[in-house]
Amino acid sequence: MARLLYTFALEGRSWVTRLHPMTMATLVLSVAIVAFSTLHLGVLGATLLVLLLFMVVGRLPTRTTLAPMVLILPLCFFITLIQTLARPEGIVASWNLLGREITISAVGFILGLRITLRVVLLAMILTIFFTVVHPAKFTKALCDLRVPFKYAYSFTLALRFLPLMLEELATIKNAQQSRGYDIDQVNPFLRVFRIFPLMVPLVLIALRRASTIALALDLRAFDARPDRTFFVDVNRGPLDLGLRAVGLSAAAVVLIAAIAGWL
């Protein structure tokens, strides 16, 4: 898993990195509103096309931006499968298997695809967000909105240390495997009950690390004064205002249409 999706290599090729972080946040919000307002195939499909177009125009690297999508594929598969098997209406086929009736619903299948599309849209816009937004700039942007620094900073800290904790988990897993304890060989459904030997060391290490980080932060005058300065700066240009207006208007239109029942 990529340590951090944002890369400086991107700064050279994509103008999207020069946008104000809050513009990207607004786009995330807009897409979220659209995705949750409706399951209309046309609307969701159009939004997906717009996002893909955005990626092309913004010269975002398709590989790194779309790679995390692979993680949600299993989820999408299950959603579609469950809807196909569970829906009582629109049944196109059915069998009798071991005394139970298995039905395939066309309505369910389409519904599953729509929900999948919703999930894909959200995953995509979030991935784009993390790919183009510099964490330090995002922190600055949040502070400009009067969010207290110590909360705004937690985003950067999480981005920095979550990958480290995943590495620790991998090491812990190896250490316990070396003692004959292999969680991979346990039934996936029972795994959740057998994670104690992995979770206890992880939690302890996380706590210890958190306490050392807290010490290090304080030794570097963290939260010393309310008027802290920032090395990075964020600027808002006409493109930012334009994109925000377009995003929010589109979201508002879809929301109103959905409430009014036109979709």
Partner: protein
């Protein structure tokens, strides 16, 4: 030090390993470690030393070449199974400690590998004595000092009675007395017939206890020999930026016919009270 019986404990043939990220960590390593040997593996970070020893208990499987542990190809066995024959002690004991008592912690490994209950009892008692943990059976591991936790980690691996013991930097942050104690324990295990592989940055430790040194550099074995033989290769070692123990460099610089590996050796070589009759 125990004589090797001639049977091979670990056989590595043209081992290649490439990480999923694309980094080639091992580029054609071949070696044989005989049963009963005490081998030290040294190298800078990124040289491949940890990657190499992680193959010995199956944590990593070769992407090219073959690796056999006690005659068994590691690709055919899972790590949990290989734990019975090759025990790997991780650098940080906190990566594995999770039980409420020291005893439970030590018993965890043998239970997983299917050791019969009666044997577990005697094994636990033996390792607790060996690692000086007696009296701490019911203590909560979090209340132990770092040194005690490190010994607990070793005990929990030894309790499974593996023939091969692999230790990754076991002396981090320990004072001289604790290190001596560990060296003595490892010597005893080696005498009892265990094959020991020690990965370390501490060349003084290497000189003190190992009979064979493997110097790793950029994914290959650069030097393989006794510590004395390896330390003599001054120019080759320079490439790795590894420096032999100070006393060894001293004997080289002074121009002595014999390289000293330890201070004790050097002191014994000087005639007078306390000197030996010229060991080696």
């Amino acid at each position: 030090m125990a004589l090797s019986t001639g049977a091979s404990a670990i056989e590595v043939t043209d081992l290649h390993f490439v990480y999923p990220s694309g980094v080639a960590a091992l580029r054609g390593v071949s070696l044989t470690i005989a049963a009963g040997e005490f081998v030290g593996v040294i190298g800078q970070n990124g040289s491949g030393k940890t990657t190499l020893v992680k193959h010995f208990n199956g944590l990593l499987k070769p992407t090219g070449g073959v690796l056999k542990v006690l005659g068994v190809d590691t690709r055919s066995k899972g790590v949990a199974e290989l734990a019975k024959v090759a025990g790997y002690v991780f650098q940080n004991p906190d990566h594995q400690i999770f039980c409420n008592t020291v005893r439970e912690e030590i018993v965890f490994g043998p239970r997983n590998t299917g050791m019969p209950a009666s044997e577990i009892e005697s094994s636990v008692r033996h390792v607790m004595e060996l690692l000086d943990l007696q009296g701490l059976e019911d203590r909560h591991p979090f209340r132990l000092s770092r040194g005690e936790r490190q010994r607990l980690a070793i005990a929990s691996i030894l309790a499974m009675r593996p023939r091969i013991l692999i230790l990754d930097e076991p002396t981090g942050g320990q004072d001289r007395q604790q290190v001596s104690r560990l060296i003595a324990t490892l010597h005893q295990l080696n005498v009892e017939g265990h094959t020991i592989v020690l990965v370390t940055h501490d060349l003084e430790l290497l000189a003190e206890c190992t009979g064979r040194a493997l110097v790793m550099f950029q994914g290959e074995i650069l030097l393989d020999g006794t510590p004395r033989e390896v330390f003599r290769e001054v120019d080759t070692l320079k490439r790795t930026a590894l420096a032999p123990p100070q006393i060894t460099r001293w004997s080289l610089a002074v121009g002595l016919p014999r390289l000293f590996l330890t201070v004790a050796e050097a002191a014994a070589a000087y005639p007078g009270e306390g000197s030996g009759s010229g060991t080696q």
